[in-house]
Amino acid sequence: MAITREEVLHVARLARLALSSDEADRMREQLGDILAYIRQLDRLDTSGVVPTSHAVETGTPYRDDSVHPFGEKEEILKNAPDREDDFFRVPRIIED
């Protein structure tokens, strides 16, 4: 299952993952091998089979729509790589 370098770079952009040129080359090879292995599923006829998203079916659980305040804002903000007052600070969002 060949995958092109352009496809690798496209997927990396979707995943917001900066890859070096070497990494992109290695990724192209390894993803190709892994996808080829995965495609063995094509041998199975799954028409009419219902997909599983959770292995243990318990129905949709409901809960009260009630507020449980966390109350420790500083505990959260102290992990920020960069902050200003109670805000997370990031580089400019609209790039030139």
Partner: protein
């Protein structure tokens, strides 16, 4: 217990000795901290050790005992948590550079339950980065080593323990201890760093089956903060380990004893079966016909869920951030490129590809349907048997570096543990033999949804019938 070094005691012996004041929590905790000092430089099992805090907690436990009270079944007993469980005020790295300094604002539910039961936390254990790996070689903090042979891997991804595709059972098998992955939904995932949400499940790694049962009794149960945790009663697991296996039907899936299984593993698992049969269990040949498709299914569903879960590591709110980027997107992309290791990037790429426009049905949709077939295999098998016996891993521990550059070969070491996660059923690995090289071998028992008791009973029987050394020689 006289004459046995404290680090060789079982958890239940330690808990009893503390309750009966034969030993203090401080003595026990100090002895284990000293052992960590001696052994950890060689095996790198811990990312973070907490000597001061552990001794403080132990002293508090001793005071409570002196005042006549014990908090719970683990009162004063030193334990460790995999670096995937959030611990308030204690760094929780998940084996990754991107979380190398993350200080969680809250405890995971499992962390809270362990503390409420009175346990003393020694530290946070090494693991493959974001639990993605079978050897701990993908940890940003360096590989852990097998205590039985330090040139070999200890298995992965734990640490002790969460299990997405075998990360509790496979390392337990390779290190000669007991590892239990409960039914999906048995243990809350709140505060457990997410890898693949429909597969991840926390559970104990312990020295003996009764020890594992005691710990599961502590951490199991419904949690309103995890809507996938299931509200069913938690039985007395410890009592289950004393149950007779007479009349128990033990299924042997022929697909798990085919090519690629090491001879020493086959022989050891056959001994485990003989042990059960000698106690009155009945062996039944079964088939799980879609087994050969489990690995491919897992390597779509796991990475797809991971690529979505790991989107949160963007350098904005916590963790590593790449400096000097000119804009937001560049900052996020470089943060992730620098913060994640090779295996995590590989899985994010596979997952993103499999979920991307035009490929979703062919990959993720297909895998979800095959997952249904795999679940059905188990449902049909369990109509005729009570438990299923298999090897845990196809070989004993391999050498560090042997498979690290070959992802597909590495993935094959989880071939017997993955179907259990896809089906959501419980599984346990129990030591059942040693290889000619002196490496531990584990047998895996699989059970019906929420029937951990049956596999605890069978595993405990194997453990009693096949006595094995449980502690690696300190100079190995």
């Amino acid at each position: 217990m006289a004459g046995i070094p404290v680090h060789e005691w079982t958890l239940l012996d330690a808990a009893r000795a503390i309750r009966e004041r034969e030993v203090s929590s401080r003595e026990l905790t100090r002895a284990l901290l000293e052992r960590i000092d001696r052994v950890n430089p060689r095996i790198n099992a811990y990312i973070t050790v907490l000597p001061e805090q552990a001794m403080r907690d132990a002293a508090a436990c001793d005071e409570e005992i002196a005042a006549g009270g014990a908090r719970g079944p683990l009162h004063g007993v030193p334990v460790a948590l995999k670096a995937i469980f959030c611990t308030k005020g204690i760094r929780t790295t998940c084996g990754s550079r991107i979380l190398h300094d993350f200080d969680p604002p809250y405890d995971a539910t499992v962390t809270g339950k362990i503390r409420e039961a009175g346990a003393v936390l020694l530290g946070k254990q090494n693991m493959d980065e974001f639990a993605m790996g079978s050897s701990t070689e993908t940890s940003w903090f360096g590989p852990a080593r097998n205590p039985w042979a330090t040139d070999r891997i200890p298995g992965g991804s734990s640490g002790g323990g969460t299990d997405t595709g075998g990360s509790i059972r496979q390392p337990a098998s390779l290190c000669g201890v007991v590892g239990m992955k409960p039914t999906y939904g048995r243990v809350s995932r709140y505060g457990m760093v997410a890898f693949a949400s429909s597969l991840d499940q926390g559970g104990p790694i312990a020295r003996t089956v009764p020890d594992a049962a005691a710990v599961l009794g502590v951490i199991a149960g419904h949690d309103r903060r995890d809507s996938t945790s299931v509200d069913v009663p938690v039985p007395d697991y410890l009592a289950a380990t004393g149950r007779s296996v007479r009349g128990m039907r033990v299924g042997l899936p022929r697909e798990y004893f085919a090519d690629g299984l090491d001879d020493s593993v086959r022989t050891a698992v056959e001994k485990a079966l003989e042990a059960l049969v000698s106690l009155g269990a009945e062996s039944v040949e079964i088939s799980l016909p879609h087994t050969e498709y489990a690995l491919a299914t897992y390597y779509i569903i796991g990475p797809a869920e991971a690529s979505s879960n790991l989107a949160r590591y963007d350098g904005v709110r916590y963790g590593y951030r790449s400096e000097g980027a000119k804009g937001l997107i560049e900052m996020m992309s470089r943060t992730r490129g620098e913060g994640f290791g090779a295996e995590v990037k590989r899985r994010i790429m596979i997952g993103t590809y499999a979920l991307s426009a035009g490929y979703y049905e062919a990959y993720y949709g297909k895998a979800q349907k095959v997952r249904t077939l795999l679940r059905r295999d188990f449902q049909e098998a369990f109509a005729g048997v009570d438990v299923i016996l298999t090897p845990t891993a196809p070989t004993p521990a391999f050498r560090i570096g042997e498979k690290v550059d070959d992802p597909l070969t590495m993935y094959l070491s989880d071939i017997y543990t993955i179907p259990c996660n896809l089906a959501g059923i419980p599984g346990i690995s129990v030591p059942c033999g040693m290889s000619p090289d002196g490496l531990p071998i584990g047998a895996q028992l699989l059970g019906k949804h929420f029937d951990e008791e049956a596999i605890f009973a069978a595993a405990a029987a194997i453990e009693r019938e096949i006595p094995l050394p449980r502690v690696a020689p300190e100079e190995g």
